[in-house]
Structures are given as C-alpha cells and as structure tokens.
C-alpha cells in the first residue's frame, strides 16, 4: 500500500472511524464523503465501539499475493453493535471454534508486514471477546490520541 493512501486510511484502520450524516443521521463504516441515503455532503467522523458479533466467517486456504507468506487465516464479517457490517481478519482464534453470533472485539494488529517500501501496515482485526473482568483488567481507559 502506498504511503499517502495508508495515511488517508489511518483513522479508519486504527480506531474504526466511520462517518455520520448530519442531515439524516445515518452512520457508515467505511467512512463516506457523500451520504447515499440523502445525498448530503459534509459527513462528520464517527467512531464505533469495536464490539460486535460474527455475521459470517471463512478459513482462507489460498491467500492472495502479499498475504501468502502467513499461510491460511480466518476472515470474518462482523456486525458492529452500532449496526454496520465490517469485513476483517479474525485473530487469536487458533484452537477456537468460531461460530456465527460469537461476540468479538476490535484489536489493532499488523495487516501486512512486507508492504511496498518496507513499512508495516497496521489496522483492525477482530478477536473473540474476553469475559468482562479480564477485559477490564486488560484495557485501562484509553488516552485520547490525535491521529
């Protein structure tokens, strides 16, 4: 992925930032510039919780070029709590029987290590949601980060 393109995508990739239409209040992920529901412009950023459930999943045995080095991996379509669907890789699922309806949460992971020009592309993946006490211990209140 080219560096300027990666830079444009960083908010969506790092914190699942989509957009919201100020006119009709519809929310979107991925972010859009124009609202397809009412054709208003000037959509505002809108973050999503990253929590959701598995809508569907697949174990990919023939990854495309650029991903073939990491071998078979599992991808999923996730229904976010706020409504939108997202497709992404699933992570931390070795030994886990993935199923439709399974609760998952967004984490930031390496998407592609040997990208063009040598840098690493990071972005969202989804992992099985931890039981609540563990999740609280593992995730202190995040500090505000300006991207």
């Amino acid at each position: 992925m080219q560096l300027p393109r990666y830079h444009r995508l960083r908010r969506a990739y790092y914190r699942l930032e989509g957009s919201r239409c100020p006119a009709c209040e519809t929310s979107y992920f991925p972010p859009r510039g124009i609202c397809p529901s009412c054709r208003a412009g000037g959509l505002q950023p809108r973050s999503f919780s990253g929590r959701g459930t598995i809508y569907s999943f697949s174990r990919m045995h023939q990854p495309p070029r650029g991903f073939s080095e990491v071998g078979p991996y599992t991808v999923g379509m996730v229904r976010l709590e706020e409504g939108p669907l997202v497709v992404a890789q699933l992570t931390d699922v070795d030994g886990v029987e993935v199923s439709i309806g399974m609760p998952v949460e967004m984490v930031t992971r390496k998407i592609r290590e040997n990208a063009d020009n040598g840098y690493i592309v990071y972005g969202y993946k989804f992992r099985p949601r931890m039981p609540l006490p563990m999740a609280l211990a593992a995730s202190p209140e995040p500090e505000e980060v300006v991207l």
Partner: protein
C-alpha cells in the same frame, strides 16, 4: 477456452473476431468494444482495445475497452447494443477476452481481488473467493441448508459442458467428487468455483432492419440493462439480497415485456455455486432461501423448467473473466438458433444472459429472442 500456453491475449481476441466476421458474412465493422478486466495487471497491456483492433486487422475503427470487473463481457455487449440502438453505428463487434494462465494462482487471486473494495476488503487480505464464502456460510446458516445442497449446481454445469466442444471441463462429476474437492476458502471448494483460464468470444450487432441481409434468422436482443450496488459487500443492508442483480433483471423484464415465467433458459453468472442460488432468487425464479431447491429438484437441468448454464456455464465452460459475459450471449444465441449441437435445449424462444461483477456489485442483463 482453457489453458492456451501458446496463444497471447491478442491471438485469442483476434481469432474470436475473425470467426465472428466469417459467420456474419461481412468484414465491414465500424466499432469494436473489448470486454476485459485484467490485461493491465496480468499482461501489462492497457490500451488493449487498440491492440485487439490492430491484431484483428480492423484499424482504424473506433475501439474502446469496457471494464466492469467480471461483468466486463456483458458490459461490452451492452456498449455495442447502445452504439447500434443510438444510431451511431450500424455494425459493431463486442469481443470479450482474458489471458490469465501466465501467472501463478496467488497473483491471479490478488488481481481478481481488485474487483472487491481496495481499502476495506482486498487490503485486508480478503480474497474474492473468501467474500463469496462468507455469503455461502451465512446462507447455509439462515436457510438451514448444507454444503451438499449446492452440489447440483456444479454437477449440472459439468454435465452440460460435456456437450460443448469448446468447454474447459468436459467430464461429468458426482456428489462424491464435489464433497471431496479441495477447500479454497471454506465452505467454498474447487468444485464450487469457476476456473481461472484463457478465452475469447465475440458477437456482431446490427440494426434488425439490416440483419436479414446477412442471415435469414437473426436473433434479436430485446433487452439490455445494467445496475449497480455497493462495491463493499459489508455495506449492504442484507448481503444475501443482491440488489444490482434484481434491479438489472427487473429492468430487462420491463424492456422485453416478459417475466421470469417467460424465460426458457438462463445463462447466469455461476462463478460460485452460492452466486447461482442468490441470482435465481434475485431474478424472481425462487423465494429467498429457495434458490438451492431449484438445483436439487432438477428445475435447472436440461429437461427442467429453467435450464441454466446450458453449455457448461462459468463453472464447466470456464471463466476467462472479461470473456465470460460475451460467451453467455453467444451461447444464448446458439441455443436460440438451434445451433448448440449436443447441448441444444428444445423449444427455446426467450433466453436470458446475465454477467455479474464484484460481489454482486454490477450486473448486466440481456434478453434475446428468435
């Protein structure tokens, strides 16, 4: 159709053009629309329509490439139809061509993934097969069907391909072959998926008033339509409802003043078995969740109510991306003319061909009559 190690993209397209001109009985062509998706990525050749016009000896006619992902072939036929219908040209060629076998699978897989959303699907390592696998698993979950229930689509395509001398796979398969075929992205296996291959097909269009000067029984295109949906599969309200396919079919039915009951055969975009099921539902042949039943109850067979993939479809004939949509129209043409040989379906009056690009994000539908 197949693996043509000794033929280039230009050779394949040139051959299809020459054969079509010979069949049409005229070399007087005014424009050429080339359906192609991957020449830039796989052959390193853009400006491909000029290259094909040159290779076929057609210079200096108008020549433009039409790209609509896997629907490029259907879109090229539609471009030719628009040119004739508008009165801009009177004899127009649409040729679909794809050259895929010079590359290893992972390169072709990455190239095909450009039909999906570049930033939110392909860049995350989600292959085109995987997107269809997500659909298939959810379909099985929602409608309580099993992987085995999709087998009749693949079996039908291979069975029909046996009667097509140009098809890539001419040996029949059975349920055991289907169930034991290697997994690509579960639940999709090799025998759910149309094959990577090389191929080219061409059709010549002219106004009906002129057609009878070339042949006694011209075949009419009575409807041509194109519709779109989101590129990203996840951006749809319900990913199992294929809006572009439904909209394109509805527009075609209205143009031709026909309905699903009037369609005698359907060359649909069976790139994956799940696509066949969702297409039959979106086009009004089955209720949601009932698409697979048309396969298991024999409706899609040669003697059934709605024969599909009659010369093997994408699965049995092969799926050279940009060529497939043109192949479908040629195959509908052959059936309507009674020239489909061993694959001939009796009493065909109205045939539909539908070319789909992306994960149901663009659909081009044509209805033909004799």
């Amino acid at each position: 159709m197949g693996e043509h190690w000794d033929r280039s993209l230009r050779d394949l397209a040139g051959e299809a053009v020459l054969e079509t001109l010979r069949d049409a009985g005229t070399g007087d062509v005014q424009a050429l629309y080339v359906g192609n998706m991957l020449a830039g990525q796989l052959t390193g050749q853009e400006n491909v329509a000029t290259a094909v016009a040159d290779a076929a000896g057609l210079l200096p006619i108008e020549a433009v490439k039409i790209e609509a992902a896997c629907a490029a072939g259907g879109a090229a036929v539609r471009a030719a139809w628009l040119a004739v219908a508008s009165g801009a040209h009177d004899r127009v060629l649409a040729v679909g061509v794809e050259k895929m076998t010079d590359h290893f699978n992972d390169s072709v897989s990455a190239a095909l993934a450009t039909a999906a959303d570049a930033d939110y699907e392909a860049a995350h390592g989600i292959s085109f097969v995987a997107l269809n696998a997500l659909l298939m698993r959810r379909y099985m979950h929602d409608h309580g069907v099993e992987r085995r229930d999709f087998a009749p689509f693949s079996i039908n395509s291979h069975h029909n391909a046996a009667g097509n001398p140009r098809a890539m796979f001419r040996s029949p398969i059975d349920v055991d072959d289907y169930m034991s075929s290697p997994v690509v992205a579960d639940p999709i296996s090799i025998l759910d998926s149309a094959a990577i291959c090389d191929g080219a097909a061409a059709v010549m269009l002219c106004p009906l008033s002129e057609a009878r000067s070339y042949c006694e029984d011209p075949i009419r295109i009575v409807a041509s339509s194109c519709a779109t949906d989101t590129v990203g599969l996840a951006e749809r309200r319900d990913p199992l409802v294929w809006g572009a396919i439904a909209d394109s079919a509805a527009a075609a039915y209205a143009q031709a003043s026909v309905g699903p009951d009037d369609i005698d055969l359907f060359e649909l975009h069976d790139a994956f078995t799940i696509v066949s099921a969702l297409t039959l539902e979106a086009c009004g042949f089955a209720a949601p969740g009932a698409g697979v039943r048309l396969a298991s109850d024999g409706s899609i067979g040669r003697d059934g109510r709605l024969p599909i993939s009659t010369l093997g479809g994408l699965k049995g004939r092969g799926h050279p991306i940009g060529a497939s949509g043109v192949y479908q129209v040629v195959e509908a043409f052959l059936q309507l003319r009674g020239a489909a040989g061993a694959a001939q379906i009796p009493d065909v009056h109205t045939a539909m061909a539908q070319s789909v690009g992306g994960s149901g994000s663009v659909a081009v539908t044509h209805i033909l009559q004799n």
